[in-house]
């Protein structure tokens, strides 16, 4: 039968499924009969069959040998790398020790000396003092949700690496941590006041903690608890029986604080009394002649004037400091200029590390002569120990990179390739480097987002180091060539990190190189995160190619003959 005799041709899908033996007996017989009479469909059927065979032949042909790196069983390669892990861990231990002795130990002892009395830096930051108390009293469902969200995000990020046992361990550890947070919570009431001007009148007594937010916060009466003040101007002329935690432009204390002062403000003036210790981050701190701090003062300030009375120790980093009053304990200052006038009195040892020698009046009453140390800037340290520590630090970075690249190989590769997108990486890097910590601090200040803020800060801090690893990996690839294998990438990362650390050790220029690397890497990481957060597209079902009577066929159908 000729083509002209056929009324309708078979569609291509039906013919292909006939070739593939996917039609049921009835449909297959129809095709078989039709192609006996229709030259066009028979030709197409043969062409499709030849196409199938061409595809199979093309794919099965052994056109290239197994690559050398796949030729041997991978486990052997892993075994051979074990000694490298040993070296890396050894160096990492040294790196951690270096970090602890260089930064944490000294800082911790100074803070303990300043009256924080903590043996643990984390508990110092989060759980000590009025912040903790205030936070606990605010522990609401919202905070629980925030905490749970952070935990869920963390588990999601590492889900691929969690085995059942590990997941259980993580879950129990989280529960333990959660219980540790919640169980010691004291049951104390908290009051919120928010207005342009928040005032606690002279005759008024607020029972429990008070959260006061407004342009002007005036406490003339009594707060029988902790006071959290947020505003442009905060004035305390009344009595706070707990701690004062304050974030504002201007803080003036003329009243009585029975607890501690923790404050971040533009300027602080104290004419009243703080019974316990004070910690301040401020541009201008003035303790007037009648101002008094019962215990210690820890201050990071541009200009400090102490005319009043400090019961115990003063620990400070200053631009300019002037002491006219009394310090009952020791003085430990670091900064540019320090002046100790004739009316000053210091009961303990006095140390000053600065750019210029302190100006000490001969009439000042000092328990011992002031010990002055010329401040040594790190960029000037070029002794043998500096080189040793540079090597140890580079090794610590390498280890950190090794762990990250092993745990997050595909993310690291993506971030590394983003480094080459220079404009976007730098732009985003600048934004993330500055905006994220600001946002995190704001989240902390709002108390409700304290954990979210702290977690973000923690991640941001980690990203500062990860950024350098990523840029190092890219630099290594520029030199040794691109790779996609994780171990090869680690090798290139090692080379890149070493080169970057050497560049960063260059006097003056090194610090700028480091800054650029951090911004660059931070942007690349952010780009990778951003791209990962794009929604995944579900596989869409393609439309049936041709309209007609052919409908999708039932499964497991074969041609009978």
């Amino acid at each position: 039968m000729s083509e002209q005799d056929t009324t309708r041709h078979c569609d291509e899908l039906t013919l292909m499924m006939y070739v593939e033996r996917q039609l049921d007996r009835e449909a297959a017989q129809e095709v078989s009969l039709h192609t006996q009479t229709c030259t066009r469909c028979l030709t197409l059927l043969r062409a499709l069959d030849r196409e199938s065979r061409l595809l199979t032949r093309s794919m099965l042909e052994q056109d290239e040998p197994l690559p050398a790196r796949l030729a041997e069983f991978h486990e052997q390669a892993k075994r051979s790398m074990r000694w490298i892990w040993g070296i890396f861990f050894g160096l990492a231990a040294l790196g951690v020790y270096a970090f602890y002795t260089e930064y944490i130990a000294g800082f911790q002892s100074q803070l303990e000396q300043a009256g924080f009395g903590s043996s643990n830096l984390l508990s110092l930051m989060v759980f000590q003092g009025a912040f903790y108390k205030g936070w606990l009293s605010m522990f609401t469902l919202v905070e629980f949700v925030a905490l749970a969200s952070v935990a869920a995000l963390g588990v999601f990020a590492i889900r691929k690496y969690l085995r059942r046992g590990t997941a259980l361990a993580v879950m129990f550890a989280s529960l333990g941590l959660f219980a540790a947070f919640v169980t010691p919570a004291p049951a104390s009431a908290a009051e919120f006041r928010k207005n342009d001007t928040v005032t606690v009148g002279k005759e008024e007594t607020v029972k429990g903690d008070l959260y006061a937010m407004g342009d002007h916060v005036r406490i003339e009466g009594t707060v029988d608890g902790d006071l959290f003040g947020f505003g442009e101007q905060v004035e305390i002329s009344g009595h706070v029986t707990g701690d004062l935690i304050c974030f504002c432009q201007s803080l003036r204390i003329s009243g009585q604080i029975d607890g501690n002062l923790r404050s971040m403000a533009n300027n602080i003036t104290l004419t009243g009394t703080i019974d316990r210790s004070a910690t301040t981050f401020t541009e201008l701190l003035t303790i007037e002649p009648n101002g008094k701090i019962g215990r210690n003062l820890t201050s990071f300030t541009k200009s400090l004037t102490l005319d009043g009375n400090l019961g115990r120790d003063l620990l400070t980093m200053i631009g300019k400091g002037t002491i006219n009053g009394t310090i009952g304990g020791s003085l430990n200052a670091k900064g540019e200029n320090l002046t100790i006038n004739s009316s000053a009195s210091i009961g303990g040892p006095a140390k000053f590390e600065g750019d210029n020698p302190a100006n000490v009046s001969s009439e000042a009453k000092l328990a011992s002569p002031l010990a002055y140390t010329k401040m040594e800037h790190k960029s000037h340290q070029r002794g043998p120990s500096f080189s040793v520590w540079t090597i140890i630090w580079a090794a610590a970075y390498v280890l950190f990179g090794l762990v990250l690249l092993s745990l997050l190989p595909s993310f690291s590769r993506e971030a590394s390739s983003n480094v080459e997108n220079v404009g976007a990486s730098f732009g985003l890097g600048v934004l993330v480097l500055f905006a994220v910590p600001i946002a995190a601090v704001i989240a902390c200040v709002t108390v409700v987002g304290l954990f979210v803020g702290l977690a973000t800060l923690f991640l941001w801090y980690g990203a500062l180091y990860f950024a350098q690893i990523i840029v190092g990996a890219t630099v290594g690839q520029w030199i040794l060539g691109r790779v996609s294998d994780t171990w090869a990438l680690i090798g290139r990362m090692v080379v890149g990190i070493i080169l970057l650390r050497v560049a960063m050790a260059v006097p003056f220029l090194g610090i700028w190189i480091k800054f650029a690397v951090i911004v660059w890497g931070m942007g690349a990481l952010s780009l990778a995160v951003y791209r990962r957060m794009q929604p995944t597209i579900a596989p869409n079902i393609p439309p049936v190619p041709l309209p007609g009577p052919t409908s999708p066929l039932p499964s497991n159908t074969t041609v009978g003959s």
């Binding site: 569609d11 291509e12 899908l13 292909m16 499924m17 593939e20 996917q22 066009r40 469909c41 030709t43 197409l44 043969r46 062409a47 499709l48 030849r50 196409e51 199938s52 061409l54 595809l55 199979t56 032949r57 093309s58 794919m59 099965l60 042909e61 052994q62 056109d63 290239e64 040998p65 197994l66 690559p67 790196r69 796949l70 030729a71 069983f73 991978h74 486990e75 052997q76 790779v483 996609s484 294998d485 994780t486 791209r531 794009q534 929604p535 995944t536 597209i537 596989p539 869409n540 079902i541 393609p542 439309p543 049936v544 190619p545 041709l546 999708p552 066929l553 039932p554 499964s555 497991n556």
Partner: protein, 194 residues
């Protein structure tokens, strides 16, 4: 389903499942070339294929205890490989190959039979492989699963996450994409129009 030239080494599989490292190494050497070739066809670059091969065998080692010895080891192995490769491709596709969606929406037209025959006659295996590497992820994966590993329509449906009746459509669309790539221009349609 089987790897050409390989008779399934049952004893080796049993020993590897029992934790025999030597047996596992032998099994790897036996199957690595075939799985690498599978990945080479399915993945866009040689580096990707090498990585995927390595990852598949690492995954396989963890999953070997789940293998049912009463079934074909090769079929199971290809299923693991296909799922892994498709998982990788799908993740990339979501980020990079959004433009391929447009291609998948285009209507298909039946080719002119003689012209299709001519095209197939003129093209070598090497040209087909090159054309294959230019296809979209889903098309490439479908063709590899069907014509390299001889996977059934049910298995392909399962791996690609489509309903079984649409597997034929996916394969046909992939063939059309391949023909376009082989031609380097328009679709072959009835009447010789390209």
């Amino acid at each position: 389903m089987s790897v050409p030239g390989i008779t399934e080494p049952k004893d080796l599989i049993v020993r590897a499942r029992a934790g025999d490292t030597q047996a596992w190494g032998d099994l790897y050497r036996e199957y690595a070339p075939a799985i690498f070739r599978f990945c080479r066809r399915a993945m866009p670059t040689r580096e990707d294929a090498e990585d995927a091969t390595m990852e598949i065998f690492m995954k396989l080692r963890d999953k070997l205890s789940q293998y049912d010895p009463s079934r074909s080891f090769t079929a199971w192995l290809y299923k693991v490989a296909a799922n892994h490769c498709w998982d990788l491709l799908r993740r990339r596709r979501a980020r990079h190959d959004k433009d391929m969606e447009d291609v998948e929406e285009l209507p298909l037209e039946t080719p002119e039979p003689n012209q299709l025959e001519k095209l197939i006659e003129e093209r070598s295996s090497d040209e087909v492989r090159k054309a294959l590497s230019t296809l979209g992820a889903r098309a490439r994966m479908a063709l590899v699963m069907r014509y390299y590993s001889d996977m059934s329509y049910d298995e392909i449906a399962d791996a690609l996450g489509v309903r079984r009746p649409f597997v034929g459509v996916v394969l046909l669309r992939a063939r059309h994409e391949l023909r376009q790539a082989l031609e380097g221009r328009g679709v072959l349609v009835a009447g010789g129009t390209q």
